[in-house]
Amino acid sequence: MNALAANLVLAVIWAALTGDISSGSLLSGLVVGFFALWMVQPILGLDPLYFRRMYRSTRLAVFFLWELLKSSVEVAVEVLRPRGRARPAFVEMPLDVKSDLEIMLVANLISLTPGTLSLEVMPDRSTLIVHAMFGDDPDALVASMKNGLERMVKEAFE
């Protein structure tokens, strides 16, 4: 049985049984259904990859929202500081992800995370050129992007 379909059906049943079809009850049904399916997964023979993917996608989303908040505060501080501290620089980031969707996600997420803005994907898809707001330590910046966002995107699509 398809784990995603089962999870959705369980969410609808949960919402129907609680007698209130709203986004809140559907969401809680989805979460409860996820854990219920996870517990009976060996009996039903569901694909364990589904649970890992869901977990990693959720982790990516939470991590990303946190980074967006951090980067906005960082930009706000820089805007309000009387004398700017920004040291803009171009940085190259080697890309490990290969598919269109993954590259788009990585580039988009980089634009929304602290101090970086993706500018161009090289035609051979090997490198992403990034504009950094605080380019004092480019190698640490590239390392943090690769170990944070890119690794998470890769794991979510594995």
Partner: protein, 119 residues
């Protein structure tokens, strides 16, 4: 209680949008302006959008809010990417420096090359 939370969200959204606007005026380089408008602007709009979902909490409102947030997250970085790319392709005297060990803007195609390559 939930109204107070929503009010805080709307206020925070307004503050971030204001800061994004001030950033657009204050920074002296297109690329730095893109930083201000994408990050603070997106977060400001998202916070403002989330507030009605908290207050009303009905299916119709929440679905629209989720769609709006996803659309913003998808389009804002792409717009910044396109504007920034157009800038570095056409202007060669930007204020951004290239660091040792990084080829930086030297990697970027010249405008002629970019035009020839684009579909």
């Amino acid at each position: 209680m939930i109204e107070i939370l929503a009010a805080i969200f709307v206020l925070a959204g307004g503050v971030f949008s204001l800061i994004a606007g001030i950033g657009l005026m204050r920074f002296n380089d297109v690329l730095m302006r893109m930083h201000a408008s994408t990050k603070a602007g997106t977060l400001g709009s998202i916070l403002t959008l989330v507030a009605p979902a908290l207050v009303f909490g009905t299916m119709g409102v929440t679905t629209k809010v989720v769609a709006g947030v996803l659309f913003l997250l998808l389009t804002a970085p792409i717009a910044a990417h396109m504007i920034g790319r157009a800038f570095v392709r056409t202007e060669k005297d930007h204020k951004t420096k290239t660091l040792p060990g990084h080829r930086g803007s030297a990697l970027l195609p010249s405008p002629e090359e970019a035009v020839r390559r684009s579909p």
